[in-house]
Symmetry: C2
Subunit: 454 residues, 2 copies
């Protein structure tokens, strides 16, 4: 009995090693092809250059739907289709201004509307500014906040090496600041931009309302002006701020997820999903967020077809609608009827920027996690062998109930929030080889899973 078991284990190990060996040659071919052609960059350049930004409900988004279908077909996908989804339509409008007033003088502030905010009357809303750093601070204000504009100014924790952690530690101010401020009677909020960069660029992003309290206008202010406003307040606690926004929410509109796949030769109903989100904010051109994930995902198919590879399991690219302000594309995808007969064994998302890949973060049970960590040395072909526990992506998160292994590409994080959700998120901030190395890493991992199962 023990001998039999020993043999089985040895055979299994041998098979696995052979598999690794075969994958290694494929990985090397993917690397050589990818780094020679840099097709992901060429696609991203076209997407950002000819279409630009693509907020849900905008013409830009619908152009991107057509563009990505064409590109998936050109890449060689066996089939390409769209799936419908209703998405919100919020429009920034031409006016987003603010100024502080102190000692009879006006100080213009560089601001932008937060995504989803209500607009203001033409004259704007004006109130005494109160600087806060936390929701505890807000609650402590009580009655004194009535009629005020709350200024959320808790910066990123710069000592975090991973800037995503710093973002996570600050972003509740943007997401829920208007709700908490409205609870104590404030008339508007100004939120310090979510970035480590010290510059004069405001960063937008999603914010929420709560039907139990009034909807008050919310704007992001550049970090430089946040520092200036804070200094002004120290000298003159009576400083007021006026916010003028022309933002408007419109009824939901019909839109689409875009899907393309290479059908598996042996187990076509088993899916390895690869994706990112096709929408972006309406600042910059969404080059890193998440044009990079879109281009890299299409490149996964392009690389495989160019090398004449047919996977045993289906490799499916899903370009999700509406990640930025609703996640409606992801929710619609997870609730498809087809998911009953199909089985998503793994989903790999790239939505942390097109920077140099270091590895993948994985949320899965320990058996699957253990299996996936064995691909570390394979992924080191492109230096992306750092497998860590936890991670995934907003769009693939809703697949969790299916037992799908959720896998997020982990690129370098230092520069991401310098550009994120701002006019700085443009193609010149993307390095062709760094972007492509991420695409190759995704291709290697999705290929290995499609061949070996999970």
């Amino acid at each position: 009995m023990r001998i039999t078991r020993y043999i089985v284990i040895t055979l299994a190990a041998a098979t696995f090693l052979t598999g690794q060996g075969m994958h290694r040659e494929t990985a090397e071919r993917m690397k050589d092809r990818g780094l020679s052609t840099l097709d992901s960059y060429e696609m991203l350049k076209e997407l950002t250059g000819t279409i630009g930004h693509r907020l849900s409900g905008s013409d830009g988004y619908e152009k991107a739907v057509l563009w990505s279908q064409r590109r998936l077909k050109e890449a060689g996908a066996d089939s390409v289709w769209t799936e419908p989804v209703m998405v919100p339509r919020w429009v920034r409008g031409p006016v987003e201004k603010a100024f502080a007033r102190s000692g009879g003088k006006n100080h213009e502030l560089t601001v932008c509307a937060l995504g989803g905010t209500v607009g203001t009357e033409k004259k704007g809303v004006t109130g005494r500014v109160i600087e806060v750093r936390s929701f505890d601070d807000v609650r402590a204000l009580g009655e004194s906040a009535k009629g005020a504009v709350l200024f959320f100014n808790r910066p990123f924790d710069r000592t975090r090496v991973n800037t995503g952690e710093a973002y996570g530690g600050a972003v509740n101010q943007r997401g829920s600041g208007a709700i908490e401020a409205a609870k104590v009677g404030a008339v508007g909020v100004i939120v310090r931009s979510m970035t480590n960069a010290m510059d004069d660029e405001p960063h937008t992003g999603a914010m929420r309302y709560d039907s139990a309290v009034p909807k008050i206008p919310a704007a992001a202010v550049s970090t430089m002006d946040a520092e200036m406003l804070s200094a002004l307040l120290k000298k003159d606690p009576g400083t007021t701020v006026t916010i003028q926004l022309s933002a408007q929410s419109h009824p939901d509109v019909l839109s689409s997820n875009v899907i393309g796949e290479i059908r598996g030769s042996e187990f076509p109903e088993q899916i390895v999903l690869v994706g990112g989100h096709l929408d972006s904010w309406d600042k910059g051109t969404g080059a890193h967020d998440d044009g990079s994930g879109v281009a890299q995902s299409i490149e996964v198919i392009k690389l495989m077809k160019a090398l004449g590879l047919r996977p045993k399991r289906t490799i499916r690219v899903v370009l999700f609608a509406n990640e930025e302000n609703g996640l409606k594309g992801a929710l619609a995808y997870a609730s498809r009827d087809a998911n009953v007969r199909e089985r998503h064994i793994a989903a790999i998302e790239s939505d942390a920027g097109g920077f140099l890949p270091r590895g993948f973060g994985i949320s899965a049970d320990s058996i699957k996690f253990g299996k996936l960590t064995q691909y570390a040395s394979l992924l080191d072909v492109v230096g992306a062998g750092k497998i860590t526990a936890g991670g995934g992506g907003a769009d693939i998160g809703p697949l969790k109930p299916f037992g799908t292994a959720l896998i997020g590409l982990s690129p370098e994080s230092q520069r991401y929030f310098d550009y994120h959700h701002s006019n700085h998120d443009t193609i010149d901030k993307v390095h062709p080889r760094e972007l492509e190395l991420g695409a190759i890493a995704m291709a290697i991992l999705s290929w290995a899973i499609a061949q070996d199962g999970l």
Copy 2:
């Protein structure tokens, strides 16, 4: 006997673990302080902004000698001094032009003189262009190369993930191309710039002559113009190129290495060297190459002093003269009389750019290498835990005969050669946090070695 030995090993392990634990707290403090202040970036900004480039023998270099002494004192070094070294003085001069002539038309080429080249007469040298990719190609030309201008156009191997390897595979064209070309009677050489980037920027760098053959002028051409010239040659093999250079070599001049240290409290004669080179090419401002290494090295001392740390062994910053075109600073340092009584146990060099650190490359015997790899998890505090065999740096290489462990900081390599030795190597290409993370990694490693010995 076996029991005794077991106890000894256990105690040693316990001591080591305690040491790791203590180092961990120090490493965290270094990280928090470094990322909060970003002093390395502030220093690099001042060095590149107020002094600019600093080629050996130039005023810029001597200003950098004064600047770095002041900065080392301000950082809190116990002592700061210079050591003399004679260095070459090569001056580019105002003229570096070239044009191709084909079908009666001139095509200007974007070129720059390679470092060390002779100049030309005012009218330049003109010859039929012959494109070559290797020294074998050159030898095969034989007599037909007489009077020609050889055009070395072997590009970087783009499939190399590590761009340093691609550089290593191409750079002999720049270093020895003029020698090989002169052997077959060529009158000049044009060398494709050493970069993966496709743009119109020429990259300089060192080239050599051989006293056995004539010194012929050598220039680098931008990658875009290399492609253009190659295309032109395919249409018209009779294309000529004219090169005009005003470069001149002058007699050697007296210069200095700059040194500052924190003296060890227990074993002051044992040295952990931390350094980079203070000279740069005369293009751009040497921000990555090697202003970054200079600023990071001074920051090592600044971090330790700011945190009130005194190492058991001496931590010495050495800023080497003349790495780019002679290595005279490094050779002088390795031949100091003082090296007889001092013992350099380890030397850490940063000369691969101020990009995000991934780890360290180490050249040492296996016992020392094994000891140093145990610091991997400690270095992971700043994500720099990838310890690889091989590596070091040009300036610390001459210390090898002393048994010194030679350690090179390994930053991300994708962007380095986009800027290297060109007008693009400026402060805007350096990310403050990425630079600082490298400095912190060097501080952590030098501290651990200084406490534990090697």
